[in-house]
Subunit: 312 residues, 2 copies
């Protein structure tokens, strides 16, 4: 995962990822009319069909601009089985457009169960037959259960050139309650998780110096992100919290290394709901608005990197 | 959730829950033949059909013995969309037999996303239309993101009489790496999570003195479980790790209060794969073996409680 992601960041001169987190409220009226009038508000297939049509248009619009997309599985799981079919179809469509797909699934469990979740990366092998039920290139994982809950994912990363991003320091307001707990050894808890994460990736470091084991570090924690960049030299960051959650390009500029690598910045509503924020767009132009917003985000990030003397 | 669970524990004189965590290896040969010969090893629907037939037979066999079942969603998610259909059908079948269904989903995310996952408990409401895509009575949740990641679940518990069990101290070997970190204030991290959990449940305490916000506490941590029982007087425990993972009835006896309440002990393979461990069973008797194993587990737990002077 990590080699292709970095290659595409360099090729597209863009270290950003579009979050595909559809909600009914985000959908243009013409799509709501099309699906709900025909299928009904109580029909999960209406949501799934609408989300997929929306996502495909956004993916087509941003495929040449960004290296990766990040569908948030909760937004699909919310609508049950058919919602998850739309998640899978979204992942597959994004693959078809050459994008790296980071599934934001935040799974985590004890070892035998984590091995089952790791099917998101490695598929299943039963009686000599291999099947892929999920097709993400990388997924986010939760570290609360420790090494034996992470190792099954790492094994699949190693076997199938996939990746994970471990939740280290999340962007949400309450995250400090657990993640910033001061430890007796002087570290904060998130620093202990950071140290484990750097260690977990030590066997999977690629040609650019980064491993298949990345970290989620929120854009809302500017200083901590900069310190973590030093602390985790082989760990690539997936950075939520830019835009709608308040993080700016200058906030995240220090999350990158001296080559402008080491991080991808994620934006969801800021891209996919851009059409709602500017009256110049007709709602039918939601994909165009997404593309233009993705270009503005690239320029915003490139500008912040250039102010630190970095360019691709 | 919690009132019915406690009522049924008292009625069935059994504080245990059967984990429904099917794997291909666990299935009797006659079921494998039936599904794989007809549908093929690469057909997810074969796994889903096989798991559901297995689960239904186990549910029928234990429905009068145990108050609850705990399907582990990872074992179904592993087989993709059709696997998750078997998860849903298992939940619904268990409801039909009057059992409380604890979905072991270990979800956790930032607030808006946690609200999407909370559809497992509260369904979705769009344009005045309510739909239930999932039907668990309670789910397990991960605390690493703090209060704003838990509150959407608590809101649904409150609105729909559902429950959650927060991961406090998990049963797996590596869990100590994070959960036993010593904090500067003298607590261990899991104790800080325990204190948050007790607080999160303070508004949802029922007639028996326990709240809809429970805690996962592994049977493999005997002393910690006993201390947590004191520390979290209104928090019901969901206790994995009995049996296959090494926890004994005497290990968990101190997880109960003086009335023999305050905990349900979970066993998965020990019940559902019991037919494999005793040559007296033909594989066609897997459900009978599960029922007899569930009765032995009840007697084992009741014996340990009686040795502490507690009986229902």
């Amino acid at each position: 995962m990590i080699e292709k992601l970095i290659d595409d960041i360099l090729k597209k001169k863009n270290p950003s990822v579009v979050g595909l987190d559809p909600t009914p409220e985000m959908m243009p009226e013409f799509l709501k009319t099309k699906y709900f009038d025909r299928m009904g508000y109580d029909n999960p297939a209406a949501y799934a069909g609408m989300f997929l049509e929306f996502n495909r248009a956004v993916i087509d619009a941003v495929a040449d601009i960004v290296p990766a997309v990040k569908p948030q599985i909760a937004m699909y799981e919310r609508f049950g089985i058919t919602g998850l079919q739309a998640y899978n179809a979204t992942c597959e469509y994004a693959h078809g457009r050459g994008l790296t797909v980071i599934g934001d699934i935040k799974r985590g469990d004890i070892s035998s169960t984590a091995a089952a979740y790791a099917a998101h990366l490695g598929g299943v092998d039963v009686n000599g037959t291999h099947s892929d039920m999920w097709t993400e290139d990388a997924v986010t994982v939760n570290p609360y259960l420790g090494t034996d809950g992470i190792k099954p994912f790492i094994d699949e990363c190693s076997a199938h050139c996939k990746g994970i991003f471990v939740l280290v320091r999340t962007s949400n307001p309450s995250s400090a309650e657990i993640q910033e707990q001061s430890l007796a050894d002087g570290r904060r808890l998130y620093e202990a998780v950071a140290d484990l994460t750097e260690k977990w990736g030590s066997g999977l470091i690629g040609q650019h110096g980064y491993s298949e084991v990345g970290a989620v570090v929120g854009a809302t924690h500017r200083e901590q992100g900069e310190q973590l960049r030093e602390r985790m030299p082989h760990t690539f960051f997936l950075v939520p919290g830019y835009g709608a959650q308040g993080g700016t390009a200058d906030d995240v500029a220090g999350f990158f290394d001296e080559n402008g690598l080491g991080a991808v910045i994620s934006s969801s509503r800021g891209i996919t709901a851009a059409y709602k924020k500017d009256p110049k767009y007709d709602e039918k132009d939601f994909a165009l608005a997404a593309a233009e917003s993705a270009v503005r985000m690239r320029e915003d990030l490139m500008g912040a990197l250039m102010r630190r003397g970095v360019s691709y």
